[in-house]
């Protein structure tokens, strides 16, 4: 008799939840319980009044950045949709991969660009731009996170059913059809992208402080720096945590309403000859040009100053291979809880709630997430894992596993329910179920893995705290050199990271092209 380990659905559900909890939210729960216990003992008293105004200002600032990023994303997506129709699908995935380029590169590049522009303007007109304050912060955030909104918006545009496109082409609805039919299709993608941008930017003090703007997270870091206990820092940041949890709930709401799918992406643009779409497309082109040229110009300018670029890379072989190793582990192994979860809960309405809970490590600041992981894993029972080189991969899974779970959940929810039921009936068991499912949603699976890989390659806040002695990631090395002022070495390493990511993407396109034909 053939024994099927995964036949018991209840067992799988329990396993999915346990895995998801162990790998993702357990450290957060640990900190949460510790904070409550410490508060009840009276060891910590937090005065929230003084920080509230700062939190309010931070929210306003990030809302502004979010709106601009959404606008830039929409215009950029329209540009690709109109002018680069043939390559739109590949560009969509390529743009998403550019999340890898860390925000500090955009920040430095924009400062560098405006400095050069100012010296030119001063010579010609005798005036200079004042690139500082709120405007500079919002603009830099918008360009740093543009890949998120532009990528998602483009995918949503490409996922619009072809029947609708045909209808618009035949009926010739023009501008009204675009605004009344197409734009509502884009709302979920734009909202998801915007909320993600908000979540990422409100937990980062880097860009605002460069331009002289204070934000709420800076206050948390000052506590962290002055030696406050982790519970004290966590409690001081609790209003921000609650805000992020609310944003996460909204995020879940829009995810459940989203209609984009990687599998059905096809570029059909019924408005490409219409005049009304050309203007935003041209604006989008300008934005995309700035998005690409400013960092590329800065990185290349710095990189050509390096005498031995090969030597720089050769000296970083260990860091490059270790970063790739843990990022691949994180991306591939995030897939296991994501798959188990999706398989167990694809029918359940509670899946969004579970996903929201799994996303908690993503919405707390990285020092707290890192320290909570240490508290949980550096115990006599588990310290053999904590000491091992795979610990950063576990940390990355804890932070990003939910991304793959979200992508798979959305992908399966877009499939015909009857088809899934039939598959579950005729091909029982997780492996067989997945084998069938993989035929239908392989693009989503791949996209999920690639996104987690890209996010993992760029992460440094948590990995710094859990990387075992004797190992170092490329991003941490880049940050070390950045402080030293060796911008040309940083430029070489960043360009290398970018080229590697684009090569991986190209290779995947080639491989998948062959697979598809087969």
């Amino acid at each position: 008799m053939k024994f099927n380990l995964f036949k018991g659905v209840h067992f799988l559900k329990v396993l999915a939840v346990v895995l998801l909890i162990l790998l993702t939210i357990a450290p957060v729960l640990y900190i949460f319980m510790g904070s409550i216990a410490t508060t009840f003992k009276g060891n910590i008293t937090i005065d929230y009044t003084s920080g509230m105004l700062l939190l309010f200002k931070s929210v306003l600032l990030n809302l502004g950045a979010m709106v601009l990023t959404i606008l830039f994303g929409l215009l950029s997506a329209i540009c690709v949709w109109v002018f680069l129709e043939k390559y739109a699908v590949k560009i969509a995935l390529g743009i998403l991969m550019l999340i890898l380029l860390p925000p500090f590169i955009h920040t430095q590049s924009w400062i560098f660009f405006v400095d050069k522009l100012n010296s030119f303007l001063e010579q010609i007109l005798g005036v200079a731009l004042n690139f500082n304050g709120i405007f500079a912060v919002i603009l830099t955030i918008a360009f740093s996170y543009l890949p998120i909104t532009a990528g998602l918006c483009l995918i949503a545009l490409l996922s619009i059913p072809s029947e609708l496109s045909d209808m618009c082409r035949i009926d010739g609805g023009g501008k009204t059809a675009f605004l009344k039919i197409y734009l509502p299709f884009l709302y979920p993608a734009l909202c998801i992208g915007g909320l993600l941008v908000f979540l990422l930017s409100i937990n980062d003090y880097g860009i605002p402080s460069v331009f002289g703007i204070n934000v709420f997270v800076l206050e948390l870091y000052s506590r962290f720096s002055a030696g406050n206990s982790i519970y004290s820092v966590f409690l001081a940041g609790f209003p921000l945590f609650l805000l992020c949890a609310t944003i996460m709930a909204l995020f879940g709401f829009y995810i459940s309403r989203s209609n984009f799918s990687f599998s059905t992406m096809k570029c059909i643009n019924p408005f490409k000859k219409e005049k009304f779409i050309k203007t935003p497309a041209v604006f989008g082109l300008v934005i995309l040009v700035f998005f690409a040229i400013v960092p590329l110009f800065n990185l290349t300018y710095e990189a050509v100053r390096v005498k031995g670029a090969i030597a720089v890379l050769a000296n970083s072989v260990n860091e490059i291979s270790y970063s790739a190793f843990i990022s691949i582990l994180a991306a591939v192994f995030s897939f296991i809880p994501a798959l188990l979860f999706t398989y167990s809960f694809y029918k359940s309405k509670a899946r969004i709630l579970f996903l929201g809970v799994a996303a908690l490590p993503f919405i707390i600041s990285s020092p707290i997430a890192g320290l909570s992981l240490i508290k949980m894993w550096n115990t006599p029972l588990l310290s053999f894992v904590y000491r091992s080189p795979i610990m950063p991969a576990i940390a990355l899974i804890s932070r990003f596993a939910f991304v793959e779970a979200v992508i798979l959940t959305v992908a399966i929810s877009r499939l015909d329910k009857a088809l899934i039921e039939n598959m579950a009936l005729h091909y029982p068991g997780l492996f067989r179920f997945f084998k069938c499912m993989a035929q239908l949603i392989w693009k989503e699976c791949l996209a999920g893995i690639l996104i987690v890989f890209a996010l993992s390659m760029g992460e440094f806040g948590v990995t710094l705290l859990v990387t075992p002695p004797g190992y170092q990631t490329l991003t941490i090395k880049i940050y070390n050199y950045l402080h030293y002022g060796a911008s040309e070495i940083v430029a070489v390493l960043c360009l290398f990271m970018l080229v590697v990511m684009l090569l991986i993407l190209l290779l995947l396109f080639l491989l998948l092209k062959g697979e598809k034909n087969e």
């Binding site: 105004l53 030696g227 982790i230 240490i374 795979i390 440094f460 705290l465 950045l482």
Partner: protein, 341 residues
């Protein structure tokens, strides 16, 4: 066929895990060092130690983005099951904090015998050596040295206050300077001083390295920073110079922040940790750090100071770092109220 493929997949996965866990070679003696000192400087010292002792250094470096306190906080979190043997810190107050939190262990280091008493913990928990000074970096193309303030107090009355930069006084060596001023001047005077700097429009920047960048790029006339940042930029920009503030007869002197090193309680490799601390606290290592540009004011008698500041006679500010540590929390809280809220 399918079963074979599954077995192969499982074996491959296991192999990946096994290779990960067996990454270390048990036969090689090693010491685990956590350091907040810039990697470009500390890495060379680790290599020197490896060549000399045959003990491998497994280092973990901190980064400026975590305000160089990530590892100190990691040590506190790892307290019950320590992984590090030694903590080499680029400043001092964090070491005092770790001592207070019971992370450190006493050590008896022979190389430390020649160190001044103020650089050695009376209980033997930490040792200090060569330091960096807090200086005013000036761009001479924009302002002459004669027109620059000569003391911290004069800085608040300077006509160039709006063209002067300071790093956020809630992080790093700038917060150490604030805490020492809270001790030296008293809390009220120190708070009033920083309030006036803020009100007069001093530029608050992200870090000390940004301060020297801005002065070098002529975005600011002058700024308070550390000697390591200032001197490295001076090598590339001849318009820059530094001023050691408060050097008058009745002035308090310039703050020098020492490097500190401590032994971690329950360290997994105690013998190797001792050997490393002996090496780090030796005059030879201090000279190597001076020559490389990390340390500028050595404390061993037979070590020569950095060439860039050799000609300048420096009056050092007398500081009780234990008192400064006691003021740190309050000082940081008040600086947050002044500069962040």
């Amino acid at each position: 066929m399918i079963i074979k493929r599954k077995i192969l997949l499982i074996i491959l996965t296991l192999l990946v895990f096994l290779t990960s866990f067996c990454g270390c070679n048990g036969n090689i003696k090693s010491v685990v060092v956590y350091t907040s000192v810039d990697q470009v400087y500390s890495e060379k010292i680790f290599k020197l130690f490896e060549q000399k002792s045959g003990i491998k250094v497994k280092a973990v470096y901190d980064i400026e983005a975590s305000k160089s306190v990530g590892l100190a906080n990691r040590l506190v979190a790892e307290k019950d099951c320590p992984q590090a043997d030694v903590f080499w810190n680029g400043e001092i107050l964090k070491i005092l904090d770790l001592k207070e939190k019971g992370v450190l262990e006493r050590a008896d280091i022979t190389s430390a015998k020649g160190l001044p008493s103020s650089f050695v913990d009376e209980d033997g928990y930490w040792y200090g050596f060569g330091g960096r000074a807090r200086v005013l970096i000036v761009n001479k193309a924009l302002v002459s040295l004669e027109n620059c303030p000569k003391t911290l107090s004069e800085l608040a009355n300077s006509q160039y206050i709006k063209q002067t930069g300071i790093a956020y006084p809630i992080f790093g060596t700038t917060s150490t300077q604030v805490a020492t001023l809270y001790t030296y001047w008293g809390e009220i005077k120190a708070k009033e001083y920083f309030t006036s700097l803020k009100n007069l429009g001093i530029s608050v920047l992200e870090g000390n390295s940004v301060v020297k960048d801005y002065v070098s790029q002529k975005k600011l006339y002058m700024g308070l920073t550390d000697t390591d940042d200032a001197l490295s930029e001076m090598k590339q920009n001849k318009d820059l110079d530094i001023i050691f503030l408060d050097q008058g007869e009745n002035d308090m002197g310039t703050l020098v922040i020492p490097n500190t090193v401590a032994y971690i309680k329950g360290a997994p490799h105690p013998t190797q940790a001792d050997a490393f601390m002996e090496f780090l606290l030796s005059a030879e290592t201090e000279q190597a750090l001076v020559d490389d540009g990390w340390i500028h004011i050595p404390v061993h008698i037979n070590v020569t100071a950095s060439k860039d500041i050799l000609a300048k006679k420096i009056k050092i500010m007398p500081v009780d770092f234990n008192e400064a540590y006691k003021k740190l929390l309050k000082a940081t809280k008040e600086m947050t109220e002044i500069f962040v809220y």
